[in-house]
């Protein structure tokens, strides 16, 4: 089946974009069975790409100096030629927005459409984390609302006042996520309505007589504390949520600003957890689509060589001792390799693969298996489930034990039978957000005393909070809380207190 060429040469125009898109869409939807949000493709300049970078890829942002800072950083390194800009940026929204740089060649544009508008788009739409934690159809409207709301606040209360709240909220945004129950769609009205209904329900049930029933009077001591904690919903890991709801001194608009930061943090929460899979999926999809375009004669050899060249640039994995290596795994490289490996296991398994992956080895349905994986895993579980010995050998992975009591590092597993599982387990763990995020929770408030807010960081003795940052963040917390704040670092296993930080609110 030979079709006519979509384009020739490097130049593109909107007609070729559309033809490429349609050809890619046929392959993506009919052959690969991808499910995507409707696409919107936007062509932008390099300067606009810098703007997009600045805002973590949000198409609309409120004004804040931190975006200016990122802009300056990106701009400086771009102008000095240290980094080149990405070919594309894609936004998890409905419709799914893909930004294409105008400088790209026609082949690059086709590749980027396949990568972003189909690969990432499918992943956004199907992966369970995105489905649970983000609401793609509401995000664009919400960002628009956030922008105008914050602009209104600046007009009404002054830029400095808004900036103080935003600074503080940004500092806590890593701790502004509901990690356990993601099903909180970005729905402002719904949230407020639920809040109102709850209050009405409480008021309806209120009966002063209950107070007189004997035995309900709380006894002094520990019960008071536990009752107080229950009423405040403590312990609470989402510091921003707690401050927004409970903080005694905030103005309503300040609560709303905190909420905006919190909801945006929530929206971005899944992204780092699935980076490996997301990039692997998109790279695998674009490579497959471009190969199919070449096989069906829709792009010529020159274009396909460009594709191969670009892809292999992206999926380079540097060895740990390479001078430019950051030491970690390139998510494009490992992700793409794992997708390809799953395909191989499904269609052409070795004996070893049958032992390791009895459920999928030789099932003859690589596409179905991949779609299943993309839908139901995150990086940590995906690696744990699908990293095969063949890949461990190919990447020549090894595990180091870093024991600070020892003068040297110990190689305690390499790519051999004894080491596969250890390597796989450790690599998977490194993708677990619980490993890197600080578990800081609100544990109590001294309501009867000086209203001090008490936070607790459960950790191990060798993994304490970075002190200067912790103190700066804590004073931001105090600014939002309005009274003293105290943070205890506690050994999770023994309950021993490792360190105590305190902060007072700024004098107002």
């Amino acid at each position: 089946m030979q079709l006519s060429l979509l384009y020739e040469g490097n130049d593109w125009d909107f007609h070729t974009l559309r033809r490429s898109y349609e050809a890619i869409e046929r392959i993506a939807c009919d052959e690969l069975g991808l499910e995507v949000y409707p696409n919107r493709i936007e062509v932008i300049t390099a300067e606009q790409m810098l703007d997009v970078y600045t805002a973590h890829g949000m198409p609309i942002t409120y004004r804040h100096w931190s975006y200016g800072k990122r802009f300056l950083q990106h701009e400086a390194s771009y102008r000095r030629g240290i980094t080149s800009l990405a070919y594309e940026v894609v936004i998890n929204s409905n419709p799914c927005i893909s930004y294409l740089m105008e400088e790209n060649t026609a082949t690059m544009q086709a590749m980027v459409i396949a990568h972003a508008a189909f690969g990432h788009n499918h992943f956004f739409r199907s992966n369970h984390l995105f489905r649970q934690w983000t609401d793609a159809s509401a995000i664009l409207d919400y960002l628009e609302f956030a922008r105008s709301y914050i602009a209104t606040c600046e007009d009404r209360h002054g830029t400095a006042a808004v900036e103080r709240v935003l600074d503080a909220a940004h500092a806590l945004s890593r701790n502004g996520v509901h990690r356990d129950d993601g099903v909180r769609p970005l729905n402002l009205k719904g949230d407020q309505k639920r809040e109102r209904e709850r209050r009405e329900y409480d008021e309806r049930l209120f009966n002063d007589l209950w107070r007189t029933v004997p035995g309900t009077r709380p006894v002094a001591g520990a019960d008071v504390a536990s009752e107080r904690r229950r009423k405040l919903g403590l312990p609470e890991e989402n510091l921003l949520y707690f401050l927004e709801k409970v903080s005694p001194r905030l103005q309503p608009w300040e609560r709303e600003v905190i909420r905006i930061v919190r909801l945006i943090a929530q929206y971005f929460y899944p992204q780092p957890q699935v980076k490996l899979m997301n990039e692997g999926c998109a790279t695998w999809v674009h490579q497959r689509i471009m190969t199919r375009l070449h096989e069906t004669g829709q792009i010529n050899d020159a274009a396909f060589l460009e594709v191969i060249h670009s892809t292999s640039n992206v999926i380079t994995q540097l060895g740990f001792d390479h001078p430019f290596s950051s030491g970690g795994f390139n998510p494009y490289a490992l992700g793409y390799a794992m997708m390809g490996d799953i395909e191989r296991i499904c269609t052409n398994p070795a004996e070893e693969d049958r032992r390791w992956f009895p459920e999928i080895a030789g099932n003859g349905d690589p596409l179905g298996t991949l779609r299943y994986a993309w839908e139901n895993f995150r990086d940590e579980s995906f690696v744990l489930q699908f990293l095969s010995p063949a890949l461990i050998r190919r990447f020549r992975m090894f595990r180091l034990l870093d024991d600070t009591a020892e003068a040297t590092l110990l190689v305690d597993a390499i790519h051999d039978d004894a080491g596969y599982r250890a390597i796989r387990r450790s690599l998977a763990r490194s993708y677990d957000p619980a490993e890197s995020d600080a578990d800081v929770q609100v544990v109590d408030v001294d309501l009867a005393g000086d209203r001090r807010l008490m936070l607790q960081h459960r950790t191990r003795s060798g993994r304490r909070l970075e002190k200067r940052d912790a103190e700066a963040t804590l004073s931001h917390t105090a600014a939002l809380w309005g009274y003293d704040v105290r943070l205890e670092e506690v050994e999770a296993d023994t309950g021993a207190v490792l360190a105590i930080h305190t902060a007072r609110p700024p004098a107002s």
């Binding site: 606009q48 600045t54 300056l72 701790n175 180091l400 870093d402 305690d412 600080a438 940052d469």
Partner: protein, 428 residues
């Protein structure tokens, strides 16, 4: 599927955010700017000026953990020679090392490095002159009220005859004449001719009598309704408007005699350039005039001014006379803001200082906005004794705030001196 071309969208989305960064890190940026000026060459100052500020001032804190002790596992790629049980030396450089065990680097990715970015010229100069103002500038400089220009501002009922608006006056006059029925001269002439004809043949005395009566009425009416009445008069109205004088001329006067070393000239150059940048900032148009002098003074171009060596004695008054001549010829006081910067090592032909001071007081200071005298020398220690010129000027400077004088010994003295010269306090 939609394809949207966003390229024509408004640019500079992050301009506001960028300005907020500068505002936030104002102190740090100002400090970095000052350092950049002290080190850099002034020709390039402000053009693509990169400054580095401590990352601290823009740090965004968060709760994050760092690994300090205990055990952890790292999985890496690219094993070539290790077997289980091998031991490796820790990579040197701690967290910054690119090799294995770089996990601790993750949290503080931004590190303690400076934050480097490029200021636009405007941003740079804004910072540079943050607390500098030219003397008297705020009060009456750019929008000087001393020079006014008449500007048409509508019509008035009175005024001087030279300002009569003829077209308007005649329009009113005609309207009045039509309304009041003033007979036209052609009508009168026709009546007179008819009367004359009737008198000649005399066949219709009744009509003649009627016409004569009519003519008398018409003549009377004509006398009563004037051709132009004072109520018709309209005058153009002029209001004096202050005229902004957006032009400045900067005279650079320098002693190039043998006693001025290259280093002194270098200092002088920096001072002139800084002044130039500053004036450029304030005025739309800045002219430069270079006058060098030894025993005699001459106007030269910039190149010759700074580089061409010349030897001879020193007579300062020649330069001042040359300045006065050029100023009178080309830069009248009412349309130019005149600034003079004189640089000298303080030497002067004995007996000339008195003359120089006289010229300065009578001819120069009344016409200039500002006269800056900078005395350069190899080292501050040499200045214990006051030079001849300095003493002379000093006497004048005490009475005339437009004359300001400072001493510069080293390159890094220039900026503080400049601040002194044009600092807000000096203006009072």
């Amino acid at each position: 599927m939609d394809i949207i071309d966003r390229r024509p969208n408004p640019h500079g989305k992050n301009l506001e955010n960028r300005q907020r960064v500068l505002r936030r890190a104002r102190a740090a940026v100002a400090q970095a700017t000052r350092a950049a000026i002290n080190q850099g060459t002034l020709r390039e100052v402000g053009r693509g000026q990169a400054v580095t500020i401590p990352a601290d001032s823009l740090h965004e804190p968060s709760f994050h953990t760092v690994f300090s002790s205990g055990q952890r596992h790292l999985v890496l790629s690219g094993n070539r020679e290790f077997s289980t049980g091998d031991r490796l030396a820790r990579p040197s450089g701690g967290s910054g090392g690119g090799g294995g065990g770089s996990g601790t680097g993750q949290g503080d990715g931004e590190g303690e490095d400076g934050f480097r970015f490029v200021l636009t010229r405007d941003e740079f100069l804004d910072l540079f002159f943050e607390d500098l103002e030219l003397p008297d500038l705020v009060k009456n400089q750019i929008l000087s009220t001393e020079v006014t220009t008449p500007v048409r501002s509508g019509i008035s009922l009175d005024g001087s005859p030279s300002q009569i608006d003829m077209a308007r006056t005649m329009r009113h006059s005609m309207a009045r004449r039509v309304a009041l029925g003033r007979p036209k001269s052609t009508q009168l002439r026709a009546m007179e001719e008819e009367i004359a004809a009737l008198e000649r043949n005399g066949d219709d005395p009744e009509k003649l009598g009627r016409l004569r009566a009519e003519l008398v009425t018409a003549l009377r009416r004509m006398a009563r309704v004037p051709w132009i009445d004072p109520v018709d008069l309209r005058y153009r109205r002029y209001t004096p408007m202050p005229k902004p004088s957006a032009r400045a001329v900067m005279f650079c006067l320098m002693d190039v005699s043998g006693s001025m070393t290259e280093q002194m000239k270098d200092l002088a150059k920096r001072f002139f350039l800084l002044l130039h940048v500053f004036l450029e900032r304030r005025y739309k148009h800045v002219d430069l005039v270079f006058i060098r002098h030894t025993e005699s003074a001459e106007e030269v171009d910039e190149e010759a001014f700074f580089t061409d060596p010349k030897t001879g004695g020193t007579i300062v008054s020649t330069a001042l006379i040359e300045f006065s001549r050029i100023q009178r010829d080309r830069y009248p006081q009412d349309s130019w803001n005149i600034y003079v910067a004189q640089v000298s090592d303080g030497d002067n032909f004995s007996g000339d200082t008195k003359k120089a001071v006289e010229i300065l007081e009578q001819d120069i200071l009344p016409v200039v906005r500002y006269f800056a005298y900078v005395e350069v020398g190899a080292s501050a220690a040499m200045f214990h004794g006051e030079t001849d010129l300095w003493r002379g000027y000093k006497f004048l400077a005490d009475r005339m705030p437009r004359l300001v004088m400072r001493r510069v010994a080293e390159r890094r003295d220039i900026f503080p001196v400049f601040e002194d010269l044009f600092g807000r306090k000096a203006a009072d």
